[in-house]
Symmetry: C2
Subunit: 121 residues, 2 copies
DNA sequence: TGCGAATATTCTTTAATAGGCATATGAATC
DNA sequence: GATTCATATGCCTATTAAAGAATATTCGCA
């Protein structure tokens, strides 16, 4: 994928936050809602955006849709995600997301990223 | 500057190219025209865009405006520019720009980045 | 002071984007 | 089969952005 295309994906705050959280591991939409504190539509649409552009994939687990980073990213994408992870350290929005994600960890650990049991995904 | 803001600057092909070329050193608008092969308005506007957001600075040298990368970039900006330089290697557009820039090198060497003499800038 | 060269700005059109609301889909459960 | 939960999509609006044409500015020089 072209470099510009990647940056088009990265030039929206919500998408940056989604990708940043996904760097920690797969997650379902409802957990994204908890972590980002943003409405379902917003999250769902941006995930769809990222999916159609090949940055993330998703799989259905019962009622839940689990999103994860593309398994075989291009080197360019990989570089940019690494850069994101690095830069995000400095900004409160991202740190807050991570804090909420970690607070959610016990739940995720017991239910899996999709609430469907620890082994399922 | 916020990470999103940086990415907003990077999500346009022309601006990516401008920054990528600037990583090689300062340059004036007319040389940018030669290197990118894009109309003056387009280049001038995008440079203004980058200037107002603090990614580049400029100084007048006679009739010429010499643009250069911000001298004291934030660590986040620095990381992203490094990433750009890295990724650009893989894409023909950027390589072509560099090729034309280097073909221009003798001119720049004899006139300076602004055509105003080698020592002036 | 008037002209030409390099660059910037204004204006307009066109296209893309995000966001929200309402609604649709799809799976699970009763 | 109806309901419910999780998620996706369609439609609408408001905002933003890019590009080009034309014009303005700023400087150097005759």
């Amino acid at each position: 994928m072209e470099l510009v295309k990647i940056h088009e994906c990265l030039c929206d705050r919500t998408r940056l936050r989604l990708l940043h959280v996904l760097l920690q591991g797969p997650l379902c939409v409802c957990h994204f809602q908890d972590v980002l504190r943003e409405p379902q539509v917003k999250i769902s649409k941006h995930l769809a955006y990222l999916r159609t552009r090949g940055l993330v994939t998703c799989s259905r687990e019962g009622n839940w849709m689990v999103y994860r980073l593309e398994a075989k990213p291009t080197s360019v994408l990989r570089a940019n995600l690494a850069c994101l992870q690095d830069c995000a350290r400095e900004e409160p929005v991202f740190r807050r997301d991570l804090a909420r994600l970690h607070r959610l960890a016990p739940v995720i650990a017991s239910t899996g990223p999709c609430g469907c049991g620890p082994a399922a995904c």
